[in-house]
Amino acid sequence: MAENAKLTSAEQIVIKFTGDSGDGMQLIGNQLTALAALDGNDVNSLPDYPSEIRAPAGTVAGISGFQMCLGDHKIYTAGDAPDVLVAFNPAAVKHSSKFVKAGGMIITNSDSFTEKAMEKVGYTSNPLEDGSLNGYDVKAIPMFTLVREALADMDMPNAAKDRCKNFFVMGVLCWLFNKDKQLVLDFIQEKFGPNAKKPKLQVAEANTMAFKAGLNYGETTIMFQERYDLGAAQIEKGLYRNITGNDAAALAIAAAGEKSGLRPFIGSYPITPATDLLHYASEMKDVDLVTMQMEDEIAGICSAIGASCAGALAFTTTSGPGLALKTEAAGMALILEVPLVIVNVQRGGPCTGLPTKTEQSDLLQSMFGRNGDSYLPIIAANSPADCFDATFQAAKIALKYRTPVIVLTDGYIGQGSCPWKVPKMSELEDLTPYVNFWKPEDHPGEKYVSYKRDPETLARDWAIPGTKGCQHRIGTLEKDDTGAVSHDPATHQRMTEYRKAKVDNLAQVLPGVEVNGKESNKVLVISWGGTYGAVKGAVDRLIEEGKPVSGVNLRWVWPFPPNLGEIISRFDKVLVPELNMGQLSLMLRAKFLVDVQSLSKVQGDPFREYEVIDKVNEMLGE
């Protein structure tokens, strides 16, 4: 009975959903994320799905997952081991039960444990009955039976009724985590009700009934002895929405266009896991965002460079293999010295690698993946919401320095979501001062010279086609300061030095990095991009435990922040956890001649906090 279930307060809960790919795991995960966020929790989530669109149903290979962490405090990752696993079929139980925290809860649909389904995944006996899940708090719920009972009066096929099990589970979870049921009811109406984009009234009614049945199930059965209540997290005041990294980057592109007064332009080609960015951007035609889906990755970047040459604010979006194809053209933007932002949502490599899985293994490609001496700035987003700011900043630097800039995100933050404090357009930095096209009226008596440079930034004077009397030729051959082709040895030396100095100079104006913890200590853990969350969480916990550990996060991974070398020198040991075989470690070693230790993980999966904690403890000799 309800009275028997006591309400326990919790600081954070990690929940994982797994089921057949195509069975709505991402949807239910996103719904619970939104529900928790609306209720004031901080949330971080991580979708995890196979690269096949519909892998064979009921097989372990076809399992799609979604993990989330909700808390009453700032949450940096989607969590380590799940406290609660919702596994919708035997394949999901087989796939995911091993991840669950000892003593954690496994909610599953006992109706799906047919002999055939179990045989398909190699269960010789029913794991719900044979004791193989001992040590977990298993809640085997006959979901199909209960949903069909609840929808007995509805004129719809059983298969359609069975699909309502996800909302039934939402009901159970809503009760279990003491969330406001009205938010879910509103959501169902919004999604399927009469005012929805595509109203499906019967689906709305069926899901509402299934959801209520789930709530009642939690309340009236004695299956659950405890409920959990998470307080609202202390987060900055403001208007929030839940956002994925890819959507945040798309918004930043449109916003940077508006704030610069230039037309935002994306030349791109679909590639997982970056495609969602292009999807969302393609909807934003009403804010003048032009998206060109080109014939290949090369055309994606080339159309963007063409647009940039005409004075648009140009972007190209991609993932690892696509970045590889764009290399020559990235070099073109670099030697033409025109602004361009390349958003690279990294995935497992090399080559096709792991299309749907996260990795940070394009850092060295971003650094060195062009012929010649071709340095460009690289900024890494550290959370889904941060993709907005990182992309916006990249646009500013690209404009200011007339250079291509790479934004590194990854599958984890690109597709994961977290609450985002929505800025007002009026609060965003005005980018118009960085546009600064060369116009004859601003330079009376002067003749336009295409590679004359600003003494401070070394950005070249830039006149776009259509500017009266400024017609000139630029190209990818080496040139002198006037833009004329030059193969003169000294000129090539000087121009190469200019291009490098332009990027190096950026370091001088970048904000220094801040140390999380003591300024001088035994171990410094350096995070970049997607490892920020796990490292921040781990370092916070270690500091709480009194360990001599501090952390630093790199936002600009090239050039390095001005104070980084000095900070590193104050620590006995330096650890860099990264989702690659030690790429940043290599760069730090080369730049600062310091014995950086690398914690490598290339499993298509982000770091868990405990992995960082264990490594730090090992380094401390504990």
């Binding site: 004031g40 839940n242 035609k285 032009v290 014939e295 033409l336 086609p465 259509g466």
Partner: protein, 333 residues
């Protein structure tokens, strides 16, 4: 000369032209300048994009905005440039290697989108800048540095490809026929859509005489036909030959042997006729078609459509950035 007076000279830059003496590109540059005069835009509203190759040095010789880019990608770069500023008169100068080999994908898709570009593909059937390798348009048997025993690849017919991609303007010129090349560039410049202009050029160093069959003073005219809209398709050194229909095909006949009414009249809006005309080859017993083979502006250019769609979505949805950023579930802390 007044700066505003649109003449060929007005479009010429001060840079020293570095093509080999006798190169066909000189004549073509002259024709392109004539096309720019016809387009009527001041030179600071003209942009030329080129890739890599001998022909791609072109922008340096033109007093316009010029972009000498990378091998094969000029069509994609020019597409972005034109979309970002449709007011510009945008020309692409490319070669057979640049367009049909490394850049084949961009070339065909720019045609398919019908981006409003003036695309001049100078076809000398050889890689000149890299000093003499065969290209996708080289003939079977052609000797080059990479085909010392003769080319065994079958050649590509760029204009047939263009027709296949739904081109809206297809023309072929020849360096030696300067007036015709000018005519083509003028019409191409005025065409509202992608103007595909293939101009045969002679590479005096690496493929001299590649077009001898059609340029021979005595017999050349027996192997080419200059088509003109609304005119009977008659050709030959003495205008003794003509084209007639032969089932679903076209065949050459002696004017003397056919009824006047049976001689085909060129219709530049007829897509089927153009498809047949672009396929004609002297070695298959048909004259090479020169002139404006197809011109039909019934399809809107991509750059027009993009702005129409932007305007339509704006009037239908009309969201501001602040609106968009606040869509979906939001909550206030």
């Amino acid at each position: 000369m007044a700066d505003t007076q649109l003449t060929k000279k007005y479009f010429a830059s001060d840079a020293e032209v570095k093509w080999c003496p006798g190169c066909g590109d000189f004549a073509i540059m002259n024709a392109v300048r004539q096309g720019m005069v016809a387009a009527g835009k001041p030179r600071d509203e003209v942009a030329i994009v080129s890739g890599i190759g001998c022909s791609s040095r072109f922008p340096y010789y033109m007093e316009t905005y010029g972009f000498h880019t990378i091998h094969g990608r000029a069509a994609a770069i020019a597409s972005g440039l034109k979309v970002a500023n449709p007011k510009l008169d945008v020309w692409v100068i490319s070669g057979d290697g640049d367009s049909t080999a490394i850049g084949g994908n961009h070339f065909i898709h720019a045609i398919r989108r019908n981006v409003n570009l003036n695309y001049v593909m100078i076809n000398n059937k050889i890689y000149g800048l890299t000093k003499g390798q065969y290209s996708p348009t080289s003939e079977v048997g052609q000797i080059s540095k990479t085909s010392p025993y003769g080319v065994i690849d079958y050649p590509m017919a760029p204009l047939r490809v263009a027709m296949g991609m739904g081109a809206t303007f297809v023309a072929r010129g020849l360096d030696k026929k300067m007036k015709l090349s000018e005519e083509i560039c003028i019409r191409g410049a005025k065409h509202h859509g992608f103007s595909m202009m293939e101009i045969f050029a002679n590479c005096v160093i690496y493929n001299d005489g590649a077009h001898n069959k059609i340029t021979d003073k005595e017999t050349g005219d027996n192997y080419l036909i200059i088509v003109r809209d609304g005119e009977k398709m008659i050709f030959g050194a003495d205008n003794q030959l003509c084209l007639v229909q032969d089932g679903f095909a076209i065949k050459a006949a002696n004017v003397a042997d056919v009824a006047d009414a049976d001689i085909l009249v060129h219709d530049e809006k007829n897509v089927e006729m153009a498809t047949l005309l672009t396929a004609m080859r002297p070695d298959a017993g048909l004259p090479l078609a020169l002139g404006i083979i197809y011109a039909n502006d019934s399809k809107k250019p991509y750059d027009d459509l993009i702005y129409e769609q932007l305007a339509a979505v704006k009037s239908k949805r009309g969201r501001s950035m602040d609106d968009i950023m606040r869509e979906g579930h939001t909550w206030t802390v």
